[in-house]
Symmetry: C2
Subunit: 201 residues, 2 copies
């Protein structure tokens, strides 16, 4: 005894979403069928369109429906001498929101992860190398996450970039602004200590 074929198929299809198990998939299907068919129809339409039309920016690899994303197309950024390398499109938004960076980005869409079979080619590092070869970039800012994989990825890119004439930098690690020392993990605190700067009054 199961649900009707189409309901069963809907529940199983929901399992392709990350973190969605059998129970959650069932709850999602019932919720849409019983309470929000319009929302479900809209989601289905948008999803179908996005799967087909969203591609990667040919320069920075960010998601876009165009050949180049808005940032790469911006005349103000085209000749930028700084290239900031991040793991995810969400990181671009976070950095843009600070208003502190006017350069270009390169989005890896992940990090090196031999266990998951994610190697340099999956992160578009050949495209990155070609861009460095082309010249114009004076500083590469490694802004991958301060995790084991993020550090390994930063290290790999740094090794690759060494043969070009660019300055390499890594975003600073330390105590978050507004954070309390008491609640900061030991690893972060060591970074904050070893990366201390002279304090002028």
């Amino acid at each position: 005894m199961k649900f009707s074929p189409l309901v069963q198929e809907l529940i199983e299809s929901f399992r392709c979403l990350p973190g969605v198990g059998a129970k959650t998939a069932q709850r999602m299907a019932f919720h849409l069928l019983e309470r929000n068919r319009q929302g479900g129809a809209k989601l289905a339409e948008t999803m179908a369109k996005a799967m087909e039309q969203v591609g990667h920016c040919q320069q920075c690899r960010n998601f876009t429906e165009q050949t180049l994303c808005d940032i790469c197309e911006s005349p103000r950024r085209q000749h930028a001498e700084q290239l900031c390398i991040v793991e995810s499109p969400a990181d671009v938004i976070a950095i843009e929101q600070t208003g502190e960076f006017q350069g270009r980005y390169f989005i890896l869409m992940g990090h090196l992860s031999p266990i998951d079979g994610i190697g340099p080619e999956d992160l578009g590092l050949d495209l990155l190398e070609a861009q460095l070869q082309q010249g114009g970039i004076k500083e590469v800012i490694l802004a991958t996450n301060p995790t084991v994989e993020g550090e390994a990825t930063a290290h790999f890119i740094a090794e690759m970039a060494k043969s070009f004439e660019v300055n390499l930098s890594r975003i600073a690690h330390g105590v978050p602004v507004g954070g309390e020392l008491e609640y900061v993990d030991g690893n972060t605190l060591s970074h904050a200590l070893s990366g201390r700067k002279s304090y002028q009054v």
Copy 2:
């Protein structure tokens, strides 16, 4: 600064799923775009089809693509004298899996909840009343959940069914089989005690 329009729209559309906030919606969109476009396209297609084609069984209200669901169509069940009332399609499957019940079902698709504006008509109680009026049902088994809302709903249906010649029963509450007393909540334990049966050796 936001994601590209279509990516932004996809993330927002995911919010119609229960329990999906901004961060989860973003993770779902990125996961499908980056790792599983085929799964996303399949989900979109199934969802569109289900929102349009899945309806309610005209007799028991369960989800089905047909006029009557498989259980209501089964000749063996059509003249059943027992009617089991449950809150959700998942409850039907759970009861069917026991193999203990050969009667018909009536699925409320929820429970009375004045706060959420869910009243008797939303649970199809007019349809249920018409079925009782029609005769043939000798026992109504109230199998709503043992929650405050489930009990209130059972009580409401019991009041309504009183004017018809049917026996009313409520599923037993007590200690789950295989459970340990120590870990059973007090309310369940009171039910188990007050509902005790004589023990024959």
